[in-house]
Symmetry: C2
Subunit: 434 residues, 2 copies
């Protein structure tokens, strides 16, 4: 088997065999196939697509390029959640300890933010001392002690994906549905989980704004899960506006603590509880979804989720006092309020634009090697559907670096739309696919 023949077959729109894909990926992973051949194949896949069988084979090959966790010695169902990313999408920090408090084991391996979307690792690292760069041994130890671990990708997990992802980033081959699905699932399938809940964002602020694309991505990942013996449920959820009110790393952690205390914005709370309930149900701890929702609700009300979060923060080197004193989280020097220029109802908060403004304030990265400021971001006082008076503040920007402030504030002023009547209500969970 020659690499150039595999590239040629995909170039011509033919279906690659699992053997061809296995060999290409394993040889690429060992450095026997150079980046330029992988780049040509990635572009051919981008433009020609991949069948479900090819996508499955690619996922399996990338998973098997590294270690696959065996968590069988830890009692309880192993279930994770993955989100395709959005603005203010902070549910992991709530649902992971909540699900753990209900008996689910959650070995959550997350990523960093890029562009207008945030990343779980960045949010966690706004907690003073919190370490996400655990070894697989440390991950196991944290899991054994509190049922949840929140870590970054280690070099042992799907190294072929790591190498291919870096290559796709510089060869304009990121936005390929089969490559996205295989990349996500190869890492998740290495976690040793038996079930996975997917939060596939759709709408303006999502990675894939179009609902049909989001649905296709969800289906591709469900198919991969089925092929690899993992139960998968996907929720298509709304990202036409940011989730919750706090946007930016420390501000999002603060909101998560509010929710874990039984407070916080209703959309963040509702989605976190729903996703946690899906994990409990899919993990087999409750036979009905309704019972799973009630169980998660009780864990939230009883403070068990917050207790788990405090424990995991402590185990991963973070300062657990932030759980009761959120004022210990990083805070920006300045606050700037933006005010509504007319009265009416908020009909739109252009989500991608808001995400970009947060990035310009320093909360996100424009390129993979950018640095972030944990303290900065936004607090939304108004969300879509809320009434607003003329001159009323609709958001507060938390600011340190003012170099791109004007650009960010200009984007934010244009992101808000106000009309005379309220917009039609939009459900947060649009569809469920299994």
């Amino acid at each position: 088997l020659r690499a150039v023949d595999v590239i040629e077959r995909k170039r011509d729109g033919l279906e690659l065999s699992p053997e061809e894909i296995d060999l290409f990926v394993s040889r690429y992973s060992r450095g026997e196939i150079p980046d330029y051949q992988a780049a040509a194949l990635a572009m051919a896949v981008f433009l020609r697509g991949m069948s479900p069988a090819e996508t499955l084979a690619l996922t399996r090959a990338m998973r098997d390029s590294g270690e696959v966790l065996d968590l069988s010695t830890i009692p309880g169902p192993k279930v994770d959640k993955h989100s395709t990313g959005g603005v203010g999408d902070k549910t992991s920090l709530i649902l992971a300890p909540l699900a753990a408090a209900c008996g689910v084991v959650v070995p959550m391996i997350s990523g960093r933010g890029l562009g207008h979307t945030g990343g779980t690792l960045d949010k966690l690292e706004s907690i003073p001392g919190f370490r996400t760069d655990l070894t697989l041994g440390q991950l196991r130890s944290v899991l054994e002690q509190c049922g949840v671990a929140l870590v970054g990708q280690t070099p042992e997990i799907a190294p072929a994906d790591r190498r291919l992802y870096a290559l796709r980033d510089v060869t304009a081959t990121v936005e390929s549905l089969p490559l996205i699905a295989a990349s996500i699932m190869s890492k998740k399938m290495a976690e040793g989980i038996s079930a996975l809940v997917l939060d596939v964002k759709t709408g303006d602020g999502a990675f894939l704004p179009d609902a049909a694309d989001a649905r296709a991505l969800a289906q591709a990942m469900i198919d991969i899960g089925r092929g690899l013996g993992c139960r998968v449920t996907a929720l298509l959820t709304d990202m036409e506006q940011p989730l919750g009110r706090g946007l930016g790393n420390a501000l999002e952690v603060a909101e998560c603590l509010e929710v874990l205390r039984g407070e916080g914005p209703p959309d963040t709370r509702a989605l976190s509880v729903e996703l946690a309930a899906r994990m409990v149900h899919l993990g087999g701890l409750e036979t009905s979804l309704e019972a799973a929702r009630e169980r998660v609700g009780r864990a939230l009300e009883g403070g068990h989720g917050l207790a788990r979060f405090r424990r995991v923060v402590e185990l991963q080197g973070g300062d657990p006092r932030i759980c009761d004193e959120p004022g210990r989280l990083p805070r920006s020097r300045d606050r700037i309020e933006l005010r509504a220029e007319r009265r009416g109802f908020v009909t739109r908060l252009a989500c991608r634009a808001v995400g970009r403004a947060i990035m310009l304030l320093g909360a996100g990265r424009e390129t993979v090697d950018g640095t972030i400021d944990a303290a900065v971001g936004l607090v939304l006082h108004k969300k879509v559907g809320d009434p607003v008076e003329m001159g009323e503040p609709f958001l507060t920007a938390h600011v340190n670096d003012r170099r791109r402030l004007d650009e960010a504030l200009g984007i934010l002023a244009s992101a808000l739309e106000i009309d005379e009547g309220p917009p039609p209500a939009a459900p947060l969970v649009r569809e469920v696919a299994t």
Copy 2:
């Protein structure tokens, strides 16, 4: 300008600007853009195509990545010929000295053979002592002394094309019409010529068998020539059967010498004279094509072409005695005759299959780093349209290495088709495009 943005635009089917192409090629040529980004762009070009303006910009950028010859101090029109390659396609060795004998200056930079097609450099190097690896200074000196030089690509000529071509070979991006056209023309346009005659082969043994593809390639190269101030005429010529009778490097040189002596197979002679006449005409030495043909005919009959060939062989280090004693060319140890199994007329000599058989005998390369045997090949006793008796030899194989002999002979036996009646006559020059 970021390389990834250029790749993305081409990936999405947009037209790249000349500035984008210039920058990409010049940065690639300087090693500032890595092979993996060039590979991704090449695959995007393969699948999305390039407009004439993009192809022109690519050609210009690759030409300008190296030196462009200035031959203005040598008197006479500078004209070259390029063939897209075929089986037994040996006209360069005849027409170059013939055109030079008529007053054209021919700075011919050629390539090597690959797969079923032969290469001019390989044929020349079957002449004992003949050197094709001349420096640009030596090329100029030979041109000044005899009006024709027959050399290989130097490192100074279109280095970006050299690097990109090697990359395309291993990334399944060779057979792209705009990339082929730009690659050929970038080298030819660096020769400092004012006119170019193209011999675009079509039919079974051609690089592009389909006539529509060949026509499109011809048109793309004519358009590039127009954009870069070079007069270009393209002849679409038949490659349904090999050209001439001698196939294989020394056997082809021997046939060229026959033609230059006024003998040799009529198809090789006719095509060589026609192409040389086009060069004389396009170079402005005769105002009518008919007068150019007569001038070339006189040069041939007067032995002036042979004299020029003898001179260039001598100047490039070769043994000029081969011109009068072709027995001094390399000869194989063994001869094997293949005989017709029925009587009738030859209706087909499957050209690509014959080319492959010659390669298997050792006359060609399967991969770019393969070695060749100058002595081996075939002599065809029968060509399409010829009557044949049962048991009559239709070809003689000239053999040294017998390792793949059976495979080659099997292919050759199947390549011949005999029918009761003669096939319709097919013209050698199918179309002329300017």
